[in-house]
Amino acid sequence: MTVCPTQAIRVREGLARIFEDRCVDCGECYKVCPVSAIIIEQDDFEEIYRYPVRVAMLPSVLIGQFPSRIPAKQVYGALREMGFTHVFEIDSVVDLVQQGYEMFSKEHSDLKPLISTFCPAIVRLIQVRFPSLVDQLVRVKPPMDLAAIHFKEVLTEQGHSPESIGLFYVTPCAAKIASVKSPVGDTLSPINGVINMEYLYNRLLQLITNQDIKEADQDSDLLNERGILWSLTRGESVHQKGRSLAIDGMNNVTEFLERLEETEDSNLDFLELRACDESCAGGVLISGNRFLTVERLNSRAETFRREAMVKAGSGYTEWTYVPETHNLGPIEARSMLVLDADRITAMQKMRKVEDLLKVLPGIDCGACGSPTCRALAEDIVQERAGISWCIFLQEVQLKNGKLTLDEADRINAGIWGSDRQNRSQK
């Protein structure tokens, strides 16, 4: 509840409830919850059989989790064994993304610094908490979307009908699920379904350990060292012109964005911001250790770099970025901080919040089900909570007879559930 960067969680009837319009899908709550109360919605794996052509779209961090004794080609083979007809590493398209960045920054040289749209949790965070920065988001579709568009074109050229193609993205985090289910800056995601990486990694590891899996290739030979490293920290920023910064971890990002809003001229050109520590290698659905994943991907990139020096003329120059289809649409600010759309009402509410803060204990204990005393004060003003929900004020009200013990019990059960209370009474 307290780790949420947008204060979207409240405890009600013993369960963690999330305000959907505030949630940015960063997964911070999922990482810290001791009782796994946070569930990530996902598609059923059997969904893939609705399509004759079944494509596994892999981010490079999937391969990075496997111990080095299991080569990438064996993972591709195991994916075919599981039922996929095609395997495509989405980071094969990062040179296209880079072309898009360069075009966008030329056209918008007045916007500084530009902010990467790679991490969907960051895009949502900026929408709800830093609305003044939305114009600075680079409106270029992220690798997963461009890969889907590109690979669908390739398959259609090969004679498959567009309806027969099912593109399944293997996700390392909750934010990317949300970006497929309800995309920002796009009306409909080009991806047909999402597969939880934690689930898939387990299945793949079982298959490879228990069966003799034949090696296979992925369906693109365009993956290069830039692509392998793109989703890691500094994967994008090292390729950008001028002064660029790479920041990972939700706390680090919010701290920096607060500062960016307050200063006039930071002299920065590009910001790569990622919600997770160690970027996608630290995604909530990554089973492997994030530092080892980064290390393995670095050495995989090194191998590709060496091979590329031998093998001249690879194919990426044949792709060109087409703004009409590859740009993201407008990204709207949707501030969740506003107390009321009407200024005078908002000021009245703010005054009430300040008055409430004078009587609330100010220790942010969370027993009321809101993450901080200020959040409770705002909830009271917005009529989502009552003043007696604060256990300290409850005590005062009990003493001066404004509240009965039964009423207090009912209130507490409403927050933490009746089970918990029965248990503590026994």
Partner: protein
Amino acid sequence: MDLHYDIKGGDFVNAGHASSSLKKVLKQLNVDSRRIKRLVIALYEAEVNVVAHAYRGTIQVQLYPGEVEITVEDEGPGIEDIEQAMQEGYSTASPEVREMGFGAGMGLPNIKRNCDRFHIESTPGKGTSLVIRNSISD
């Protein structure tokens, strides 16, 4: 609605506290983000001025539905020649202050640029008072 802040001279670590807090308030009131930025920058520069030059100071923010008025008053050496202080690049900041990245002589001109109305008065040897007003209506 009123907000009040105290500033200590020489306390660079906390310079920006008032502007950051004002920013949060204005966001909750749904003020246009460009207007917020102008106010925050002006107030930040004013805070730094007090920290860099004065002994202590106060900030009084009065919020009205359509306007914000900020009064920054300090006890300090004051400004001998306000006209000169208003010129870009003119600075009396000490080398120590400059070392910290402040004192480029952009403070007052920067405040003025980000305000609708700007009024400054100073008594050398006693202190300086600055009043700024910005519209926050759409």
